[in-house]
Symmetry: D2
Subunit: 245 residues, 4 copies
């Protein structure tokens, strides 16, 4: 979360890589750089909100995560916590990251630091007996009130940079929109786009905020190894691996 | 949901039994009456909100349920939906009941019908791989802003009618307050109070509304058989089983 | 189990297709034929025993299956039977098939019927909370006593007909031999060979019979759809789809 | 497994407590003694075999265990090993104990050491996604061939010492015989007799040995804490706590 370190989802904030020139000069480095991945739970929600933020302005979010046990690594979660059970707690910092990270990634870089997006995010994080795939229920309020059709249209036509560049591990599409009333589900949808796509579904009005929906991403593919590969592909495509070599 | 039929949780709205005299006369019945139980998912949230509603006035709630498979009866949920999976959908009407039922139970009876409480409730209902015990994450906004200590104090000192009457199956206390950061959990807490108590925990501020917490109740004991027994005990204690015999 | 109908695993008994000529003539059919797949639980054990039967003669087997819920189709097994539970029963006929089917497949065809292999097989069948992949523990007695090295060598060098013909869905190798003390496991090994391979492991002496081991195959890929495709590929490669067209 | 230390199941081998006098004198102890509990997986099988051994003589057993994760303590089994999975391995020594412990407990004490029962036992031990309750499938061969009715009758009329003495935590009966085709099951039967009883069921002929059946006991109640309490109750009832004080 250092000011000059991009927290990168290539589809969401590729322009934050402009921090690297400043990072380099201010730290007096001759080569190398630091780019980081967000927490695996921030990913599906940030992916779903990114195109909506650009067009409608997100004001507030209440989210409940149902996080797979592989998010804690191996050995990680004891099986006695996971069999026939839910643990309504992941880690001290988990719910804080669910606020800070999307705000940084959806914020604006001036080349030296990122101005956070100013979205108020309140998260309930839970560990569930699922091997892979973090599911998040989202209720959101917008500045410019979109209709449900506006949201679907925005999701459907979103063409982020990695998809435009047709990067090797960039899923096509970045967002898989499910119309069935009972999707996305971790076992059926976590491998969408080779585990790199985010699935969204169950879009409907929220009586308290504006809309609610459900989103899902594979936490160890998109959320870890695959995410890092896509970061590298983006930087390679933009010639940055040479620049900072 | 008929206007003259009490939807009863003995701790929450025992005074709604005053509808029975009207139900009797208006339907021209000589004996018998109808009292119903709420949906098993409404129970933990309504139990946790009831004493808060009385003192602070609940304005709005966003809730996400993680519901056990026994809520669907037997054979109910196919195991292929439950192993290594979450289904973000329970039934068409489930999320509607999560709004309508608490509003009716927390509303005011004039002896002929119940005026709903006027709380705006938005629910995300999910089926999770747990045998028994519905867990609900709750974010709530109040008219008279309580501190976290106010809420704990209100929960701790709540003495509903069945507990005052010391009814045989009334759990003592009605609400079990957990202080640990990772409780309540279905496998550890569903049997609190012989399966009749509601457990609450993880009380903390909500950045979007006012506070958030987690609540849990046993869906087949409190939510079905045991709930009906407690209804009968309340009516027997109040002499109503004779009145309407 | 009709006498003139091949129960086919292409790696195990491709020569049983010689029944089709007799099936055709004796039934007076001008075209078409019947070839069937075995029960999905018979497959991993029969695959593991087939090369051993050829060299050492299998006399007796005691097997315990731990069968995935997808073996029962959808909706199939109720989730209340599968969460935090084992059901030591699958179906009335399951344990009988575990004796009859391997004996037919490992038996000898004279072109008109199959003489069973004469192996005494006693099976305990269990349903376990696993989505896909049937695991079977096997204790076996042989006529010509093999060493453990003999068995590994026999498994490792087995080249069944589909693998020799390099059929499109034939896994290479047909048997995946695991050396780790804790493999095969359903979640890690069911997709071996695209879900078409059988994994064997934990080979060690049996104090009561001769040897014991564990085997595993994917019950819906190898055990159903994929198995049928491989049957067709074998018959196509042998020109039988023209012969019986 | 020291020669002068009783490995005690009060229903199975209470007479082995005669080792304590010798243990005391040969070790030169003035007070105290050592009595141990068997491995939790040995218990259900040894309980089921004990009355049969007395009347028919057990020669050989092939057993497959499906062991709950609580047997490994907390944190114990990683949830990634337990969700949607079976691990066909528990620990290096587990299958050895499944042979040695029942033989010691079913053996004969001469007051100085125990002569093992001489049963050949071959075990396959597996870890399954169950919280509590070890299930074991058993195939057994006897010296004096019993009918199935003989076995049921022997189980049903078994009156071990703790049950005769009516010890406080001794379950009545010690063995719960299930007649249903699909019992015992961990979730439904582990709490039989307050978690202290062993459930047996699915008794049927074994084509390879003589009979097969399924047995189940609660691994943390009967297999640990409760077992130790019953040991103490037996010794107290027999005045041994004074003798060796």
């Amino acid at each position: 979360m250092d000011r000059d370190v991009p927290l990168l989802i290539p589809e969401v904030n590729p322009e934050h890589l402009d921090l690297l020139a400043h990072q380099h000069s201010s730290r007096g480095w001759e080569q190398g750089f630091i780019v980081t991945n967000p927490n695996c739970t921030s990913i599906p929600m940030t992916m779903a909100l990114a195109p909506l933020q650009a067009r409608f302005g997100v004001e507030a979010v209440i989210a409940t995560s149902m996080q797979a046990v592989s998010g804690a690594g191996y050995p990680g979660v004891p099986s006695l916590d996971a069999i026939d059970n839910i643990v309504p707690y992941v880690a001290e910092s988990e719910e804080i990251k669910m606020n800070d990270e999307p705000n940084k990634m959806l914020g604006t870089s001036n080349g030296q630091q990122v101005k956070p997006a100013g979205i108020t995010i309140s998260a309930h994080c839970n560990r569930v007996p699922v091997s892979d795939g973090h599911l998040v229920t989202v209720s959101a309020r917008f500045r410019n009130k979109p209709s449900l059709d506006d949201i679907v249209e925005t999701w459907r036509t979103w063409q982020p940079v990695p998809q435009q560049l047709n990067l090797p591990t960039a899923p096509q599409p970045a967002l898989v929109i499910r119309d069935e009333p009972n999707r996305p589900q971790p076992r059926l949808d976590r491998d969408a786009g080779g585990g790199m796509a985010t699935s969204v579904g169950r879009l409907r009005p929220c009586e308290v905020l504006d809309v609610r929906f459900v989103c899902l991403a594979h936490n160890t593919i998109r959320g870890a190894a695959g995410g890092s590969v896509l970061n590298a592909e983006l930087m390679y495509a933009q010639g940055m691996l040479d620049t900072f070599k």
